[in-house]
């Protein structure tokens, strides 16, 4: 826990920004999350400590842009590259947030942080230097799809932060790609602020290499009549956590989430979601799929909170899990906390293996067992992958995922 020792003794970073100072100060009082809390109790301790073992790296090594390299009609941004962004077209504008705007927003967020729930964000903001924080203000419509990359370098811990303001009536498709390197840790925190009538189709694709770790936190605040769609896919990480917090701050908003995590060998990947309905007429449709093979461990914990003010909320949450090996493990806990009485809330969870009858049917039609399993898996994956924006036409995610299986 190299990083924690340095945080305790305040020897982590020499030139601290104001935000870093605030976060480091908060962390010094209790540098680690409570291992007994619901959010952390299933987290593998040695893997988590491995995440914190690497030393912080502020300089990015050479970065190989993954396939596809050409980016016609797509805006590509890499967090950490020192550039100024200002795009003003007829229908839209994308510009960088000023330092003041960025600091003000982040400080507001920190003031509502809970030491345990937002520990990943506190760590990220303590480690992210100014160069690794990308803040954007997006306005308008007919905006070309945007791809944003975060990557880690081998044998180090990298921290990247993304803040995006979506102005009123704005509509975008955005794909975030988090890439892990061999023996690396990546801490990624993302903050979205969706103004009235805005719509965001958000995709998160995170994949690593051998022994790479990821702490991915996503915070979304939705104003009324906004729509947020999230499609996410996490695979090939020694240890990964995806923490999603969505707040419909005045209700009347729509959220759709389709997420998937795939674990193999001794990996542990977990997804934690918290959806807070703070006003009436909120809508949520969430499905989370896990697939655990070999000796791996997949975790899903989702909570839906419906206070008294959130009348007429319509929320559903489904956790579907495939357990493919005797040594793998799945934990799932979809939970509802409801006070408002005029609501429609439901959740469901299933854990099973591949459907034997379907496999048998396919085999009687001359399809081999391996091919039949692959077919079943591809239909299982397809529902999520087709929901991830931008990737559909440009990334062969289904093939990548199937071939790694």
């Amino acid at each position: 826990m190299n990083i924690i020792e340095k945080i305790k003794t305040n020897k982590l970073i020499d030139d601290q920004t104001e935000i870093q100072k605030i976060c480091l100060h908060k962390l010094q009082s209790s540098p680690l999350p409570n291992p007994k809390s619901e959010l952390w109790r299933l987290s593998n301790k040695s893997k988590f400590s491995n995440f914190l073992d690497y030393s912080i790296n502020e300089k990015d090594s050479k970065f190989d842009m993954p396939y596809p390299k050409n980016s016609h009609s797509t805006i590509r941004l890499i967090i950490g590259e020192n550039f100024k962004i200002k795009l003003t077209e007829k229908n839209y504008s994308i510009e960088q947030l000023s330092e003041d705007e960025l600091n003000k927003y982040i400080k507001e967020q920190i003031s509502c942080f809970d030491q345990n729930e937002n520990w990943s964000d506190l760590l990220n903001l303590s480690l992210s230097c100014a160069k690794n924080i990308l803040g954007l203000k997006i306005n308008g419509s007919k905006i070309p799809p945007i791809e944003i990359f975060s990557h880690a370098s081998s044998n180090s811990l990298n921290a990247k932060t993304l803040v995006i303001f979506l102005e009123k009536n704005c509509e975008i498709k955005l794909l975030q790609v988090n890439l892990g390197k061999e023996n690396s840790s990546l801490s990624q925190s993302t903050f979205f602020c969706l103004e009235e009538n805005s719509s965001l189709n958000h995709g998160v694709v995170s994949y690593g290499e051998n022994r790479s770790n990821l702490l991915n936190s996503l915070n979304v605040i939705q104003q009324k009549n906004s729509e947020y769609n999230l499609g996410s896919l996490h695979f090939k990480f020694n240890y990964a956590r995806f923490e999603i917090s969505i707040k419909q701050s005045v209700g009347n908003a729509k959220t759709n989430i389709k997420g998937m995590q795939i674990t193999k060998s001794d990996e542990q990947i977990s997804t934690y979601t918290k959806i807070d309905f703070n006003g009436p007429n909120g809508f949520l449709d969430q499905i989370n799929k896990s697939l655990a093979d070999d000796k791996s461990h997949a975790i899903f914990e989702g909570s839906i909170i419906v206070p008294k003010s959130a009348q007429k909320t319509d929320a559903s949450q489904l956790s579907r899990n495939l357990l493919l090996s005797n040594l793998a493990q799945i934990d799932t806990k979809p939970q509802l906390e409801i006070i408002a009485d005029d609501v429609k809330c439901k959740h469901g969870a299933t854990i099973s293996q591949l459907n034997e009858e379907e496999l048998f049917y396919m085999r009687t039609r001359g399809i081999t067992l391996a091919e039949a399993s692959k077919l079943q898996l591809s239909s299982y994956f397809q529902e999520i992958i087709s929901f991830i924006p931008v990737s559909k036409d440009r990334w062969d995610l289904l093939d990548t995922v199937l071939n790694q299986n």
């Binding site: 008294k308 009348q311 899990n321 357990l323 493919l324 090996s325 005797n326 040594l327 793998a328 493990q329 799945i330 934990d331 799932t332 806990k333 979809p334 939970q335 509802l336 906390e337 409801i338 006070i339 408002a340 009485d341 005029d342 609501v343 429609k344 809330c345 439901k346 959740h347 469901g348 969870a349 299933t350 854990i351 099973s352 293996q353």
Partner: protein, 500 residues
């Protein structure tokens, strides 16, 4: 035309709105129901001093003339309890319990040995009569054997001779300690060990009485067995312990009921129930819990912190829990099944109704250890007033539980906009060849349905009661006849109010 149509439409809307408002208020009124069992029996009791220490435990053991192994069991548990912290993970907000301010033994004074029910203090018989429990001879026709527990001790057990004819042992646990020490030593604490949790450790140290049931091999118990728990004293806690053993190919249906007087103070009830089912045995354990729930302001009421667990040890054994929880200020209870035997079955059917400031954190644990084990969970929560009603359950598939299945269904009904309904299902699987399904939903009494029933000439109050009864049907169907009727009546009573 257009204008008048709009007006009519608006007027209708307003009426509908008013109707809805009325309905909301009526539903709220309807769930207010005075507690009918809140009386205190004025009877001379023998109490020991308040407080908890080793000498108190020795004193309880001495009063009950217990063998050494039991005293050792108690002392060991007490040692463990002292090292434990009171759990707070359920997030139940209650004032800290002062364990030194509780009387751990309280018993009505009566003749040393009772040879027949005629020798039981008439006041006690009258108390149970008032509660509708058939202790007196003429009421024995109901064909349910009853063990009546008053504060810390069992005062009477009916139908003993008839049961003994079939080889069934049904008596208080104190008697079982004296008459069947071998069975007690063999099984006590094997399902719920003393170190299991804070309240189980406390119970193991100070338990005063409870029921003991032993069904021999191949016997189907000829009648339903029942124990009735009554707390009468305001300053003593109730710590009963129930142990049921069903030998190979035997079966038994066991019913449990409980009430308490109304006191301003909170009374602690920390019971432990252990069930053991061997090959092909089946145990059905039903509870209608109606402890005093405190007043509308949340003053008084029972803290019901109970550990109930069954062990399906044998092949094809079955344990079924069904419960109707309407009382207690706070309920903290998870009747569980350890499914060890191949093809063993665990079931949990529950209705929990909370009102005013009641808090219920209840659910079950189904631990699948053996292969081809099956479990079913059906939980119905109804929350009214400012209450909190949570389902918290665990379904776990171990590595050897190949071919196992679980199905869980948790439905919540909300009455009023101040009550809260939570669902926390924990699902863990280490076995790919097993299936787990969980579903949960939340609803409220729909105005359309109420309106429909009312338009068919059904009174509002009855309509609400019918809908609640329909919502709970899946669970009521699982209750034994007498209990189903009682539970339906109890819910209807709780939902009966100023209407009509």
């Amino acid at each position: 035309m257009g204008i008048s149509f709009v007006r009519v439409y608006k007027a209708n809307c307003n009426r509908l709105f008013l109707d809805n408002m009325d309905n909301e208020n009526l539903v709220k009124d309807v769930v207010k129901e005075p507690y009918k069992y809140g009386f205190v029996t004025d009877i001379e009791t023998e109490k020991i001093a308040k407080g908890l220490n080793e000498s108190i435990i020795r004193l309880i053991s001495q009063k009950k003339e217990e063998p050494k192994f039991l005293l050792d069991f108690r002392l060991k548990a007490f040692k463990k309890w002292k090292k434990m912290d009171e759990p707070d993970w359920a997030g139940l907000g209650y004032k800290k319990i002062d364990y030194q301010n509780i009387i751990y033994y309280s018993a009505p004074k009566q003749k040393e040995k009772i040879s027949s029910l005629n020798e039981v203090d008439p006041k006690l018989l009258e108390t149970f009569d008032k509660l509708g429990i058939p202790l007196t001879e003429q009421k024995k026709l109901t064909n349910v054997a009853v063990d009546a527990v008053f504060d810390s001790v069992s005062i009477a057990t009916t139908f003993r001779e008839e049961l003994a004819g079939h080889g069934v042992i049904f008596c208080s646990i104190s008697e079982a300690v004296k008459n069947h020490p071998d069975l007690i030593e063999k099984y006590l604490g094997t399902v719920v060990p003393a170190s299991d949790n804070y309240f189980a450790a406390l119970n193991s140290a100070v338990f005063s009485d409870g029921s003991f049931v032993y069904i021999p091999k191949g016997v189907t118990c000829p009648m339903d067995l029942s124990s009735y728990f009554r707390i009468n004293s305001g300053d003593s806690g109730q710590f009963e312990r129930t142990l049921i053993i069903a030998e190979e190919s035997s079966s038994v249906s066991y019913l449990e009921g409980c009430t308490a007087p109304m006191f301003d103070t909170n009374t602690l009830h920390a019971a432990v129930v252990e069930l053991i089912a061997l090959d092909d045995a089946s145990i059905k354990y039903s509870t209608v819990q109606n402890w005093y729930a405190g007043d509308e302001e949340g003053v008084g009421g029972i803290f019901n912190f109970v550990t109930k667990r069954g062990k399906c040890l044998g092949k094809r054994s079955k344990i079924s829990w069904s419960q109707v929880e309407t009382g207690s200020a706070i309920t903290w209870k998870y009747p569980s099944c350890l499914l060890l035997g191949e093809e063993s079955v665990g079931e949990f059917y529950s209705v929990a109704l909370t009102n005013n400031l009641q808090q219920a954190d209840t659910g079950t644990k189904m631990i699948h250890i053996g292969p081809k084990t099956k479990s079913t969970i059906v939980s119905k929560g109804i929350s009214a007033g400012n209450s909190i009603n949570s389902y918290r359950g665990l379904v776990k598939m171990g590595t050897k539980a190949a071919g196992s299945r679980n199905y869980s269904q948790c439905d919540s009904m909300l009455i009023g906009d101040q009550a809260s309904a939570n669902t926390f299902p924990y699902i863990k699987s280490k076995q790919p060849n097993s299936e787990i399904e969980h579903e949960a939903s939340t609803c409220r009494i729909s105005e359309d349905q109420l309106f429909y029933l009312q338009s068919r000439g059904i009174e509002f109050e009855e309509a609400v009661s019918m809908m609640v009864s329909g919502f709970c049907r899946d669970v009521f169907n699982q209750l034994p006849m007498e209990f189903a009727a009682e539970a339906d009546k109890l819910l209807a009573l709780k939902l009966e109010g100023s209407v009509g």
